[in-house]
């Protein structure tokens, strides 16, 4: 019987090897393949209620976090942004708004300098610049999950964002883009769900232009002990309940909370970003470490 058992055991071992090494999915231990699948399913099921859940879980503060991210980016017109795991388009829309307002101010300033133009010429310049209200800025929203992209596209239509947006299906670990393409790469609340973070960082490095910036907005570790206790209490007692009540999906939000705990803390992520080749890597804690923005440059 021992002879029979060995090939079976070997086969199982081989299959396990093919499926990939052991990984964490929340507090469970799964293989790489299983993890990808499970995460895909999580976001497939939450896609429609994603924004509502974000608002209720964070009491709307996630909007401020995302605003801070775009302000930190301070994009100038003509910037090409790649928003990875950007599913429902929050960062993309904020980017477009920001660039549009900067562009308006630029045009106003240009006009002030040319006050000696005749009104005819001013009118003609409006026509010319009307088709350039974004100043050639573009944002590419890339997500691995079709459902999230669908929700994002619908939102864009609903809110009236027509130009400067592109929606691409892609895996952060293997981006379907060429080298040295983008000015800024952002990943907001997405890198936690990537199975091989190092690969994603390497891809980010690859697709960025020299001088390009990597920005990562993600839940991180709270060092303040009192706040950490309150935060844990809120995370494990309130959020899954909200998930069940609002989205009808307890398990996905249990996964969310657990994955936050499993994610590397600020310093470790900073080291990983440096390993990928970025320079001037630093991070900014928001709300005492509940969320952190990591930034690095490809120099």
């Amino acid at each position: 019987r021992a002879l029979l058992a060995r090939p079976a055991g070997a086969l199982r071992a081989l299959r396990a090897l093919a499926a990939g090494p052991e990984m964490h999915f929340g507090f469970q231990t799964v293989t790489e393949e299983e993890r990808r699948e499970k995460i895909y399913q999580v976001f497939e099921s939450v896609a429609k209620k994603y924004d509502v859940m974000n608002d209720s879980m964070t009491l709307g503060i996630h909007r401020v976090w995302k605003d801070i991210l775009v302000h930190k980016m301070n994009p100038s017109p003509g910037t090409l942004l790649l928003d990875v795991a950007g599913g429902t388009g929050d960062i993309a829309f904020r980017f477009i708004n920001y660039v549009r307002s900067i562009r308006e101010r630029q045009l106003q300033r240009k006009l002030k300098h040319h006050q000696n133009l005749s009104w005819q010429e001013i009118f003609e310049s409006y026509q010319k610049d009307k088709f350039n209200s974004l100043g050639d800025s573009q944002v590419v929203v890339c997500d691995i999950n079709r459902e999230m992209l669908k929700v994002g596209k619908q939102k864009a239509q609903h809110l009236g964002y027509t130009e400067g947006l592109s929606w691409v299906l892609g895996n952060a670990e293997e981006l379907p883009f060429d080298d040295d393409m983008f000015d800024v790469y952002t990943i907001a609340f997405g890198i936690r769900n990537v199975t091989r973070i190092d690969l994603a960082l390497q891809e980010a490095y690859r697709v960025l232009k020299p001088g390009g910036r990597f920005l990562c907005l993600e839940f991180s570790h709270v060092s303040n002990p009192l706040l950490s206790r309150l935060y844990d209490l809120y995370s494990f007692q309130v959020i899954p309940v909200l998930g069940e009540v609002i989205a009808g999906d307890w398990k996905s939000y249990q996964y969310l909370v657990e994955s936050i705990r499993r994610f590397p803390p600020q310093e470790e992520l900073k080291a990983m970003i440096e390993d990928a080749g970025f320079f001037k890597v630093d991070y900014e804690n928001l709300n005492f470490g509940i969320v952190a923005i990591h930034s690095g440059f490809k120099l």
Partner: protein
């Protein structure tokens, strides 16, 4: 057991990491004093600093590169120097820095390395001007030592030095008031004050000031006052080639000279008066004793 895939990129990166680690101990020599003033989020040598301000921000050691490669600071200097030519158009802003980065072939996002109010750009410019001034004064001093030029009297020397330094502002004069206001932001005051005082110190040093008493401070304070007021006058001067400003400068320097002469005159007069009083007192008391003796 985790199997790690090692794509060929890893080997390069491993060597990059090694290079970085080995060079962490190799300190970049600070070639100009400018570097220590405004690299306040140090990309260089210090370990993590305590959080400053409402939102703690931690700057890491980006990694020192070996001498073949440019360090981050050198690259930042290059970007800022390139950005200066866009200042007349965009002002001292992140836009100018972005344009500068574009000319170097970098993405506009590289401007994110600096503050969005353009502080680093202005501080960089000021320290570059100070360095140029030092070079100029050094050259002049050499010429005097070699006997090729006459040693200037002190007031002419100070006048020329301040004028030379202020003339460097002329290409950017329209946006300079904006720069001055940024330099007065509390965050920038340590650095800008540092740059100002070292520049004044430089000028006084080349002027031959060897005082070791309190005069050291008064002289520099007076010169700082002259420099600042002349700079402000220059901001709203519309005369051809800023003639009014140079005349103002001349008058202020003359005032300062007169003041120092007057001060020493007052001192010697005061001494003379005191001595006179003492003498009168002695005379009176000896006359009294003489009268007492005779009577």
């Amino acid at each position: 057991v985790r199997c790690q895939h090692y794509p060929p990129l890893r080997a390069l990166q491993a060597s990059a990491v090694l290079r970085r680690v080995s060079d962490e101990h190799k300190k970049e020599p600070f070639t100009s004093s400018s570097q220590q003033h405004f690299d306040s989020p140090p990309a260089g040598h210090q370990p993590e600093q305590e959080p400053q301000g409402p939102r703690p921000s931690y700057t890491g050691q980006g990694g020192q590169e070996s001498e073949d490669y440019e360090s981050e600071e050198q690259l930042q200097h290059r970007i800022l120097t390139a950005a200066l030519e866009f200042v007349p158009e965009h002002g001292w802003t992140a836009e100018a820095i972005a344009e500068g980065a574009k000319t170097l072939g970098l993405s506009v996002a590289a401007a994110g390395m600096f503050h969005s109010d353009g502080s680093e750009l202005i501080l960089h410019f000021v320290s570059e001007c100070n360095a140029k001034l030092s070079e100029l004064l050094e050259k002049e001093q050499k010429q005097v030592q070699l006997g090729e030029a006459e040693k200037k009297p002190i007031d002419a020397f100070l006048r020329d030095a301040v004028e030379a330094r202020l003339r460097m502002l002329i290409p950017y004069i329209e946006k300079w008031p904006q720069a001055l206001s940024v330099l007065l932001l509390p965050r920038n005051i340590p650095s800008s004050l540092n740059l100002l005082t070292s520049m004044i110190d430089d000028i006084m040093h080349y002027a031959g000031d060897q005082s070791t008493d309190f005069n050291w401070y008064t002289r520099r304070a007076v010169l700082t006052g002259i420099y600042n007021t002349t700079e402000l006058v220059m901001m709203q001067d519309s005369s051809p080639d800023f003639e009014d400003t140079w005349r103002f400068l001349e008058n202020r320097v003359a005032d300062a000279m007169t003041m120092s002469n007057t001060a020493s005159q007052v001192q010697s007069t005061g001494e003379a008066v005191v001595q006179g009083l003492m003498g009168a007192a002695v005379t009176v008391s000896s006359a009294e004793t003489g009268r007492a003796v005779r009577a």
